[in-house]
Point group: D2
Chain length 178, copies 4
């Protein structure tokens, strides 16, 4: 099965970044998308620390770690002000987008739905061409994650960077692979 | 220095208990008071799990584990609704009081001030006669905490329970030991 | 059931101590006896570090931490020279006795048999009067161990050191053991 | 700097394998060589468990995990019989070679010298063409190790195995194995 383009991110706000991030703006870089909820114990104890270590270990590589706050329960408890304090207290430095509320009262936010995530934490790997390559629900093994990231980094290095930056050429390129 | 009566708890709300707790109501029992903030990483990773294990290991003993939500920063981020969800997600079953806001805009809540706590987590041990016996800021050693709790439990067992309920006789009793 | 006198230690050698230790020599002190094998993973990862922390936390108290090398398998692999290097590498500073080989080819060494230990690690608590008060096979909880040690320390402090135990009084009893 | 051929292994015995392993016999596979001492705390607590997880996570890949017992101190304490029991107790299933004693009374064993290892644990990565690609003294990061292994696995997959090594060229060698 060919990898499909990663669904667009539908967010209401971004923290830790001067401007909103999109898949198009990050084209050419490998993306680790870490979907979490600030009150999810597994995210706090394992997922977020792992994402932080990925950012450290692969500093210098064309890799971007991006958080996505996918609140699907206790919505009142995890509003923007709480998330902001959470990121501060846990020293989360990578950009975090707030997933847009589900349509028509759906408790599942939009990006979470588009990726068909099963819960939090979910780790998503997107290659330099914007394609969804890996999605893992729950705690992911460090050795395996390291290997998966490296696969995408080496691909990005060896392949001609046909995808244009700034989103201009991206759609045709992805389309030609479908 | 002789132990002094533990300062009264000044709270706005209680969770995980049908009715508010007071020192007087708990007279005759040893109290482990765990002061925390839901967005304090050390509390979440170490302090609260320790308090939960104390409740398990000493189940059956005349010991009560009580949480105190002493928010002194990011007040907007840790309101009641967030705390409620936090306790649910982290399976905190022991009663938790919400420390009352400081007077005159003081960011330090009242009970936290009364105990002169230096931050969170803070572990407080109160003996069966309502006296403050131990206060530790930061992560406390399990072996040492176990020993300290046992000291107070054995005292409670061996001493005549002369202290009155509802605080009426407490001071004279303590005084008689001075 | 009244506590019984702890069985005598039957050892061939002692390390980390200028002279052999016996229950009689330690009378008046609480004893944590940690029975281990140097190639037992649970001992190395959990038991020995716990015994070391007990020695640190209760430094100053009338408590002695004593190791007992109770080899009941792989005898050729855990001889004295190996044990000596093990204690050096793992920075074990407390005295360690080598349990005497079982009689008549019994693979279970003598002290291990006398205490009816079920395996390693085993944690034994002996009170200041030389009585066996607690024996736990496997990893023991820090909080609980702290409480148990404190119970014996407080007893030692409050009781006249002449107390009677099963069917006899302390002074004659001690005499009868010498 | 071009990678150099990995030095040959000089061993006296092998455990967990029906026949001795050599670099030549493993040509075509990526090798994780884990150099350890059975009484080295860092090896026992971190290095060996990591090597075991590598073997699990990359099961199915053309990767071989090999242990090397490089005793450079306490030689009497870590003889073959002790190592055998150690591997049994710690459930180490991968092949382990015993490094040959240093020449002329050198306490450093031969393979350890040939690789100029600084101590234990040391993690060595050798590519499918037998070349030394990475050598890390001390605890190695899981994410980074996963990435490094994957790099060598992908290389092995994509490259023709034509490289030369010490004293021979790859094509005849590979041919002789076909």
């Amino acid at each position: 099965m060919l990898p499909r383009p990663a669904p667009a991110w539908q967010t209401t706000t971004w923290l830790n970044t001067p401007e909103p991030l999109t898949l198009e703006r990050l084209r050419g870089k490998v993306i680790l998308l870490h979907a979490f909820q600030m009150l999810c114990p597994g995210c706090v104890a394992r997922g977020i620390p792992q994402a932080q270590r990925v950012a450290e270990v692969f500093a210098g590589a064309p890799l971007v770690v991006v958080g996505l706050h996918t609140v699907f329960e206790h919505h009142e408890a995890m509003k923007l002000e709480s998330l902001r304090a959470f990121l501060h207290e846990y020293r989360v430095k990578f950009p975090v987008g707030v997933d847009a509320p589900g349509e028509g009262g759906d408790p599942i936010p939009r990006t979470m739905s588009a990726y068909a995530m099963r819960g939090t934490p979910t780790t998503v790997l997107i290659d330099a061409q914007g394609r969804l390559r890996r999605q893992v629900f729950g705690v992911h093994d460090d050795l395996q994650l390291g290997a998966e990231i490296q696969t995408l980094l080496l691909e990005a290095q060896s392949q001609p960077a046909e995808a244009c930056d700034d989103g201009g050429c991206a759609l045709p390129l992805v389309a030609s692979r479908d």
